[in-house]
């Protein structure tokens, strides 16, 4: 019997999304979608800043900053100026659209429709004073870290 198999023998992938920036939201969404298309069971767990990805008020407005990320090539003294985050966010949104990836809210819907299961982290939600009503409708529930450990048995687990 192989590893990473669920009760039904299916390969399982659990993705913990802990970052709330546009550039770190997409890797989780893209990997979840790719796994589902390969017939892999997918569970996503949104925690800390990653909750923004499924927060109805924020998920359409995730930002990307060049500040503190020298890989983006903008000097920090420019990147700190008002407007820099907005400019870079708009540029990245356009690039993502050109590649035919949907915006975050539509991407979540695609993942939910394909059978991906999504959960908010209870502790992070308490910290941010959020309830399930604040979350994207496709979210299956709110779970604590112990429940997440149970869900991720025999899964490949990524922490993003």
């Amino acid at each position: 019997m192989f590893a990473q198999n669920g009760d039904n023998g299916e390969r399982k992938l659990c993705i913990i999304c802990s970052k709330g920036t546009l550039d770190m939201a997409y890797p989780g969404l893209i990997l979840a979608n790719a796994a589902l298309m390969e017939g892999i069971d997918v569970t996503m767990f949104f925690t800390f800043w990653g909750l923004d990805i499924i927060n109805k008020k924020k998920m359409k407005h995730l930002k990307c900053t060049p500040l503190g990320n020298p890989a983006m090539g903008m000097p920090n003294l420019l990147a700190v100026m008002p407007g820099a985050t907005h400019l870079v966010t708009k540029m990245m949104e356009k690039e993502i659209e050109k590649l035919d990836f949907p915006p975050v809210d539509e991407f979540l819907q695609m993942i939910a429709d394909a059978g991906g299961e999504m959960y908010g982290c209870k502790m992070s939600m308490d910290m941010m004073k959020l309830t399930q009503d604040d979350l994207f409708e496709g979210v299956a529930g709110v779970v604590g870290a112990m429940e997440f450990m149970e869900m991720s048995e025999n899964a490949q687990v990524l922490f993003i």
Copy 2:
């Protein structure tokens, strides 16, 4: 026979902690603690900036900055100002306390008491001129990357 089982057939979780900020220290501690409460073998490996979490001089003073993290909602031009990191750190410490999570040093002790094994990364310690005397007493030892690879056989591995 199932995956993620150690020699004794127990599920194993290895957590690599590479970040030294307050907001990225807690996810590792919380997951380690939850896994132990579920009866899962836990090994934590502290490397690069993550060494601060087990550094006796630093573990009580981990910081959290809104700079370069647009998910925190503070404009970068404010976030860069003296005092912003201190202010945000104090706010997060209070939120963590409200949720009944212990401060970092007590959390490490809880994890050690529950059987979690902790190791410092040799290469990072050499880079930062640290010896095991500089580390939290519950740390079991200092190991290199090859030893870590041996320890993590058949484990689920998270890189935080």
Copy 3:
């Protein structure tokens, strides 16, 4: 039969490198190298900012910034100044050299020579208008997320 075994029964490790900074490039390179020395199959997948690690024009000039990383101990108002990133990068390069780790391009060659397989992420390359000619010669190819999911079956997977 155990988990994390490939078709030939070998343990497999897949490392997703998504960051393009010097301090987050080395953990992936060091773990890949350690795993190969332990006889583990290694596949590296470079995506988003991590593509810089295998970008011929950038791989020798990865940077490290203290900005937004309070673990580095430099006040943000200093860290944002011109020259701070350069200074900290040079300091880290020297520390890495003192520990006898090779620079990024030589490290990639070592990994390729030891049998590590490296792939660029198609979607990220399209976004950055890169072709395989722009990449380090040891890179085996360019693959999409679905192909990566196939390659990582039965592997331990790290997201850095």
